[in-house]
Amino acid sequence: MNSNYWNWDTFLEALPIVLKGLGITIGLTFTCFFFALLFGFVWTFLRRIPNKPLNWIITWTMEFIRSTPPLVQLFFIFYAWPMIPGIGVTLSPFTSAVIGLGIHFSTYIGEIYRSGIESVDKGQWEAAKALNFSTVDKWRRIILPQALPPTIPMLGNYFIIMFKEVPLASTIGVAGILLMANTYGAQNWAYLEPLTIVGIIFLLLSYPSAILIKRLEIKLNTRFDKKATLENMKKGAMM
């Protein structure tokens, strides 16, 4: 096939150029996700502070960040932050993207942690108290080891969602695959081939990851279910 609209030569020429951005796209995804995982804890613990007005403020701040466009948040960090008197500093596009997307997704991740923590049995909290665990030990040795593993598949799904949001960073100049494709397109007035390559790369990476996470989810579910059934059996035997 060699029409005016689709040209295999262009495709082959654009392929190595677009692939040059792949390292940055993947690197940015991991860095943003790491930041979101860390910052998610901040939200989770801020929300646990037993103070009504503060709790209300935190809840609505999270809601605000979650329901406004990440693109605008990126622009805010990149263009507006340096202009704020006193605290403003100029950030590189990469750092801006890490902070912008990281904070945006941390509000989702914080909610996932919360659901994990809330699903820990009440008896576990009481046991920690009865055994005179310090607050740090209680969280480190009892609550988090039980709360976090079941959230892994959900976190994995957010990792894939984040991977697909990372090309937003091309708008502030992060040279990932999308910016590479757009630059190639502008120079050669051929957008179709490079953009198709970007689409294929995303599909090739995200679809298998999604299947992998689905498998992990099934595996984890059966593991936790098995544990639960075993415990029930024990209870039954004791009675």
Binding site: F76, M83, V166, P167, Y191
Partner: protein
Amino acid sequence: MNISAIIDIFPQLLKGLGVTVTVLIASALIAYLMAFIAGLCRLSNHIVIRKVTGFYVEVFRGTSLIVQLFWLYYAIPMLFGIQLGSNWWAGVIAIGLNYGAYLSEVVRGSIQSVAKGQTEAAIALNMSRFQRMRLIIFPQAVRMMLPEFGNYTIQMLKGTALVSLIGLKDVLYYGDIMRSTNLSQAPLIYLLVLVLYFILALPLIWLTRKGESISKKGVASG
């Protein structure tokens, strides 16, 4: 931050409100329509229909909205030699097809999660396949879908900000224009843009919560 600057900026941003809202409504309608078409097609007995819709869903869920938007914007006129009419349509179709794919999974999942006994009871009552769907399965499944439809509509609102990248004059577009002429005002401008999007999101957040309570109640108590 002073009041007079806010009074200057806010009306400028409101000029883009019409585009943001119409893009949201139009793309939401396309997304809802695609959700039901694709969701039902994936439950079809016909393997070809299942595979074709499966392909649509996985392609749109597997790639980014921003990539799809650019692809449609540049590719459709080039590939087929037709102009889509305007950028407005490229934006609406991209957002509509993207979230239609996500929502079709919600539709499929909800229909599948209606208890099997319901179908069996409907068969026992001698209902046709269509009657079963319309009278028994659907009323129960739709309630389950409501919260996710609300959530994805908020996602769509966030997605509409992308149309400024293909030259549509939405809220963000006017914000960018003002920023480029007055860099020192950038913090206030983008803060107001965010606030405006949040004001638009508030009714959707409220509807989503309403949807959650309806879906929890179920059919019998309604």
